[in-house]
Symmetry: C2
């Protein structure tokens, strides 16, 4: 707001409440605007563009995702789109580690036990609430001598997660990335050396499912990745393995995952996103699974990241108005 | 059990249920034993020793803590005590990171929101559920350019936590350790270089309270450290700071911490231990604080660590019976 308010040449129309604006308010107030700054709750579709006028030059979203924006319509009207990658990388990487630890250590039931006042009645036993250990433990030679993490998607955020996992003693990293991207043997060698791992290897879904102790989903949503984690994938996973989704809910078949947890094909799952969110009630099959811990899409919810996202979104919009280069422009090809 | 059952020269008496044995069963069945293997729920006091006979040579506890064992009585009767340090170091270090992330990222309320079916009604807003970011974010230059972690106690577990935090980009480390231990400037230089930090420094409680973004308690319990975190310490802490206790509940004055959270002297707290546990009900002042997330003392609850602890405890007991050196003997001086 400080940046926007310093611009005397602009009239700023602001939805004044700290909750989502009603659609009617939005459609009414974007009329005649040159730039619109929104978040991922707003559908930027034909209705949206029709409600604006010929003055519109740019739509700037406060998000790294852009599933809510119709790229073809934006392209056909020559509207430039800004988004906010990078600034949320570390916040989401932190959330991914939180989910790994929450899921592997029975975090959901543990938090609930104390919160509901049941700790005094809890019957302690040596293996109560135990789960697979995220970190490799040189001081405790009683488990596997390796830890393998498998990444579905291996962009900025996944690599930031790997940097954190190195401190936990992870030994092997498998990843699969966009089939259209270039071969990355340089990245493999660099990351293996940098993090002192035994292996960093481009792999496929089959090997990732079979070999990983921890599978981490950090790929984009959309049709290409829809239900990429399905019954077939889950049946191949280790019984002691953990699945984490910090990307988009659409990548995971929720019914298949609920079945996998109920029948113990895998140990547990940690999700920051669920297909159909936020309409995920207490009767959702994944909410009912004790070994599934779910956060309400807080991946980027740190003060630093959210300030960074809003400032970037403002700078994106102003760059278009000033005829400059946007800090982060979405390709519409 | 495999190790014990392979010994034809020993009669093994086993409490057969996966919950704590009643005290009467324990006192009845330790009569005449040469070694007793117990966990930290059992008081090893005059009553305990009186119930055994002159044959007793060793008590082996499946724990790193030994507050439940009367060292003076054991020493006066020449009973050797075994315990299980080291094997749980990495499990507790992982739990510490879980608590840091849970507390700073509003993990308790987030888990509860989804679990209770309230996600669909949740009013998303840009700063909902945001908290201070654990990791330093080079990609997002909108927060502090440093992260300072302060350790109360700086033994094996604290140093294992520091190794993990290095992957999150922590820059400064302050610590205070047992005043009776030797100066450790060698450790300071080694750790600073190893983890590429800007500073690792022996400090005092006052500086740790004032300078730390994250204060982590990993010191032993007992009279020396009772309520070392009190109102005076908490009042000096940063408003955005996080307090984590993964050691013993007695180190923190619960009423002072509840007041600090209610009046927002600090941002949040994550506790694996609470004074008076497990008698911590829903009306406990810390359970009632939304910014306090509590786990039911699961620090070492990984399969690897608990197997390691039980195997070490068995080896400790057998070493005494076989006249050898115990893998981990408690000093009774």
């Amino acid at each position: 707001m400080e940046i926007l308010n310093s611009r005397d040449d602009l009239e700023v129309v602001l939805w004044p409440e700290d909750r989502q604006a009603p659609r009617e308010w939005l459609l009414e107030n974007i009329k005649g605007s040159v730039a619109v700054i929104i978040n991922s709750s707003e559908k930027v579709d034909a209705e949206f563009f029709d409600a604006t006028g010929p003055e519109l030059k740019t739509v700037s979203t406060v998000s790294v995702g852009f599933e809510h924006i119709s790229k073809p319509i934006a392209a056909s009207r020559s509207i430039r789109i800004g988004y906010t990658p990078s600034v949320l990388t570390d916040a989401v990487a932190d959330t991914t580690i939180l989910l790994l630890l929450l899921a592997s250590r029975n975090g959901g039931p543990c938090v609930s036990l104390v919160q509901s006042g049941q700790w005094p009645q809890f019957n302690w036993s040596p293996f109560a609430f135990t789960g697979p250990q995220l970190s490799l433990s040189p001081a405790c030679p009683f488990g596997s001598p390796t830890r393998t993490v498998g990444f579905i998607g291996f962009g900025r955020i996944a690599q930031a997660v790997l940097a954190r996992l190195a401190g936990f003693g992870i030994t092997h990293c498998l990843f699969t990335s966009n089939p259209n991207s270039k071969p990355r043997s340089d990245i493999e060698i660099d990351l293996q050396a940098k993090h002192r791992l035994l292996m960093v290897k481009h792999s496929d879904l089959d090997e990732i499912a079979r070999e990983s102790d921890f599978v981490i989903i950090l790929a984009p949503g959309g049709a290409d990745t829809h239900h990429i984690i399905n019954e077939s994938f889950l049946r191949k996973m280790k019984k002691t393995s953990i699945l984490v989704n910090a990307a988009r809910g659409t990548l995971v078949d929720s019914d298949a995952l609920a079945k996998a947890l109920k029948e113990r094909w895998i140990f547990a799952a940690g999700l920051d996103v669920v297909e159909g969110e936020p309409n995920i009630g207490a009767d959702h099959p994944l909410v009912k699974e004790e070994k599934c811990v779910i956060l309400p899409h807080i991946g980027s919810a740190t003060t630093e990241a959210r300030v960074g996202m809003t400032v970037t979104a403002v700078r994106n919009a102003l760059a278009v108005l000033d005829g400059g280069e946007m800090p982060a422009e979405l390709s519409l090809e």
